[in-house]
Symmetry: C2
Subunit: 343 residues, 2 copies
């Protein structure tokens, strides 16, 4: 029993199975892979014996022959942000259906680590890469050179434009504009904005949407009320503290934010200052992550279909892998307003 096992790796090989059966490796290979021209009887015997011997095909060897690994790499900037696990869930579902396996890496918003991971995944010969870039990315040239190697890439959520790489995200600009318009329609006039990093699409697009809404309604854009908060709770909190420190006449009556974590941090600051939401100051987020419905007061925000983003990105990547001439697309999913009590 254990004697059938390969000395080197501990697993049974095709050769061992074929020897036991008195057949050539090729016939056994054909039988196990549903190739034509195998006697049904032979096939049955092969399957039985392979099963008995607990043969597991070695995909490493298969991959070397076929130069396909049925493996994709996913680069996440921060798995701690509730948005991303949902995206991963979507990706995993699609990828699993297609019998691919998923390598996960977490860059922790560190571009150097992101580069290292991408190179490691290339060495592992992944068939494709699903990337959401870290914030502190500096050189586009890296992605250009990666792209030149011919590996298939799809960006999601945080995209880089102009590289000829497909992207799956939400219509950030429009959604950001809508939620700002909603604040305006509620009668708020001094609206502040906690912005994300401008280098990344989501940072830029959401800020643009905010600005558009203001100018559409002839509201002045007070640059003192636009503060970069990054994408975290802490960033949101300290940005809000700066706003609260402004003189009374400048202080905003409402705050729009680049994402929910940032809004949650801001809420903390507002509460600590002893102010009431939305009476003293209204606030809205962007993401609709798990905490948004639970915080007091429940947060008005934009629902980003995270799971859907993951699914679509994975689908697009698999198509790009399968079909050499797959077009480059900019897929924008619809984000929708979720009106709760914080505004």
């Amino acid at each position: 029993m254990a004697s059938e096992q390969n000395k080197r790796t501990g697993s049974v090989t095709l050769k061992e199975v074929s020897e036991k059966l008195g057949l050539s490796m090729m016939t056994v290979s054909r039988a196990l892979n549903d190739k034509p021209n195998v006697n049904p009887e032979t096939k049955k015997r092969v399957l039985e014996v392979a099963n008995e011997m607990r043969y597991t095909p070695n995909h490493v060897a298969k991959s070397l022959v076929s130069s396909k690994t049925y493996t994709i790499g996913v680069i996440i900037p921060e798995i701690g942000h509730a948005f991303f696990p949902e995206v991963v869930r979507g990706i995993e579902e699609i990828v699993d259906q297609a019998n691919y396996q998923l390598f996960l890496t977490n860059s922790s918003e560190d571009f150097e680590k992101e580069k290292r991971s991408i190179n490691a995944l290339r060495a592992k010969r992944v068939d494709g890469l699903l990337i959401s870039t870290s914030i502190k990315r500096s050189d586009y040239s890296f992605f250009e050179s990666i792209k030149k190697t011919g590996i298939k890439i799809v960006f999601f959520d945080r995209c880089i434009q102009g590289l000829g790489i497909s992207c799956v995200g939400v219509n950030d600009r429009i959604a950001s504009k809508q939620i700002t318009q909603y604040l305006i329609s509620q009668g708020y006039t001094k609206i502040a904005y906690l912005s994300g990093p401008p280098e990344v699409t989501i940072g830029k697009d959401r800020l643009d949407g905010f600005k558009e809404a203001l100018s559409d309604h002839q509201l002045e854009l007070n640059s003192n009320l636009i503060i970069e908060s990054g994408l975290t709770e802490n960033g949101g909190k300290s940005a809000m503290e700066k706003l609260l420190a402004l003189a009374d006449h400048e202080r905003p009556d409402a705050v729009a934010t680049v994402n929910d974590p940032s809004a949650l941090g801001a809420i903390e600051a507002i509460k600590e200052a002893g102010l009431k939401i939305p009476d003293d100051i209204a606030i809205v987020g962007f993401t609709n992550e798990v905490r948004a419905s639970i915080v007091q007061p429940p947060l008005t925000t934009v629902n980003q279909p995270a799971y859907e983003v993951g699914k679509r990105a994975a689908q697009k990547l698999l198509q790009t892998i399968k079909n050499e001439s797959e077009s480059i697309e900019n897929i924008e999913l619809n984000a929708t307003l979720v009106i709760r009590e914080s505004s």
Copy 2:
């Protein structure tokens, strides 16, 4: 430039680099892998040319030779549960430091999918497996047979005992006992329990801890007050509704739960019934996930060091891979009480 690229895969091979240099593949291989007996001058030239040609070593081929893939597989029951992304973050950090790559699969609490994933990962020849089993697991024999193949396994959070496989978790029984004792010390006497699935360690151990605390304080164990809620919000909510439907004299004055999602669901039910927490009914959770501090009222719960669980599990697995005679351990991390306002 592009002409140096391999026709088959689009990437440059060792052979191509060696031909360009007029050296044998072996010398180039030695130079690139920091092996001894290479002329420093040669090494420098090799590194330069390899870099110029954008050579990326093919780990698939390396793995076939070495029968090591520097790859581990992680099986998560539900990445949507906030606890698990944190665990994954811990795993990823350790694994990355050791230059391993991580395959992530999400079983969605489906044991059939879990088995499929494990088999797929075995075919991919991962060096080890980090597993948190799904709830609906029925046959232990599967794990027994997997273990026989010699693959290294470490369980985390949800373990199966008696298989001779290491496990990293928290001291569930004791922590559950402590939080129940805390409720008792606050004067509650009719304490209900929303329990998890008993087949899984966390379900059993936490319930045991709860029971121990009651019997230590000579409180009667009313089996009507122990309801299986599963591990989700919905389960918690409907279990709580059953408790609220009890006759007045039976109705609990406090509820302990198997985990935070379950507690959060129960809180919803209590609020919908128009009752006040903790005045009408107190509630405590178990996990300390992101929402626990934010819900109204903030949830008293047990802090499970998720990130630490991930790190320790990954460390143990890497040690088990490296060291053939690594001992089988049951690592219990300390969970600590987090007292907030729900009790």
